[in-house]
Amino acid sequence: MKSINVKDFFELKKKELSLSLVTDPKTMDKEIVNPYLNRPGLAFAGYFERFAFKRVQILGEREISYLQSLKSEDMYNIIKEVFMYDIPCFIITKGLSLPDQMEFLANEMNIPLFVSRLTTDKVFHQLRRYLYDQFAPSKTIHGTLVDVFGVGILLTGKSGIGKSECALDLVERGRRIVTDDVVKMIAKDDIVIGKSSTDYGHFMEVRGIGLINVAKMFGIQAVRPTKRIDVQIELMPWKDNMDYERIGLSENYVNILDVKIPIIYLPISPGKNVSVIIEVVAMNYMLKSFGYDAAKDFSQKVQADIKKKSNKQK
């Protein structure tokens, strides 16, 4: 299972979340194991049923002022009881100063405490977004991701079918490459984001030449770092007896990380300009998302015509 080391988290996010460490650095030897956050108010009030202690704990004004309202001894005992759980870390918001006993116990019991100068609301939202991204379901696939008129198109197909060449042709026509060969896909709610699996830059292999750097060769406008995947196009060699879509009234979908993505099985044969077809796919997708479906429009016109003729007959 995935986890994030608290020390790594602190180093990465201390600026953005305006964090400072209150406890000893050695307390940070802990792991964050899920993307959720918890307000531990009930635990501090003594109610430990369903205490989500594995989550990052956020302490706001409410919790701190409650603790400070307790008698010194009660406060000590309840903090000690809460700290018995294996909690990844606490974040105290709004730059609040915390009770001395809390700092003391945290050091004793090895629980990292951070103070953020941001409001509880800001910490909650920024942290949640970061943790969700980190823990989002992901997988990698062999393919090429391109941005065509703002439509994210994932090209798949057997090795050597011409995905990279197709992407290069699209770049020549002013479109953008996200990544070639290996696409890392991350599910976020009901969309899938695709990007390169590395941060080396936009390299690609062209058979017979070797590696090239797309951004250096074609300029920065030819690349982009991430893109939502809107349509998958599976390139396949033309077969005479294959059942290709002819009208487009029915749509095929694939399931990527539990997200439904439309897929088009595109037969290619020598001399066919695949880039133009891919641009057509992108534009057709745009038209459909604006509510216009050419296949429906045309077949409705035919149906109206048939009906008119039938009525005349009677």
Binding site: D240, N241, D243, R246, I247, L249, A295, F298, S299, V302, Q303, D305, I306, K307, K309, S310, Q313
Partner: protein, 88 residues
């Protein structure tokens, strides 16, 4: 070359779904395939062509096949019409 006259037997006529069935069946064969309705002649392997005929219930069409497997093509296409494209 074979020429066969055939009548549309399904109520809804030759709309998108039957047209797709005809084109998909026809493209399996090597023979050329044309459909004639009134004075319009279209390529029976082209979906746009077949749909633009807008052939209604009760109208007649001529199926024209030309090539080495013309008999089989006509036979299969005729069956689609006879089975009313699996409709009423």
């Amino acid at each position: 070359m074979i020429r066969k006259t055939i009548k549309i037997k399904n109520k809804l006529g030759m709309h998108a779904r039957p047209a797709t069935m005809i084109v998909k069946a026809a493209t399996k064969f090597r023979s050329e395939f044309k459909i004639v309705k009134d004075d319009i002649e279209i390529n029976g392997k082209s979906i746009m062509g077949v749909m633009t005929l807008a052939a209604e219930f009760g109208s007649t069409l001529d199926l024209i096949a030309d090539g080495i497997d013309e008999e089989y093509l006509i036979k299969e296409i005729s069956e689609l019409f006879d089975n009313k494209f699996d409709e009423e």
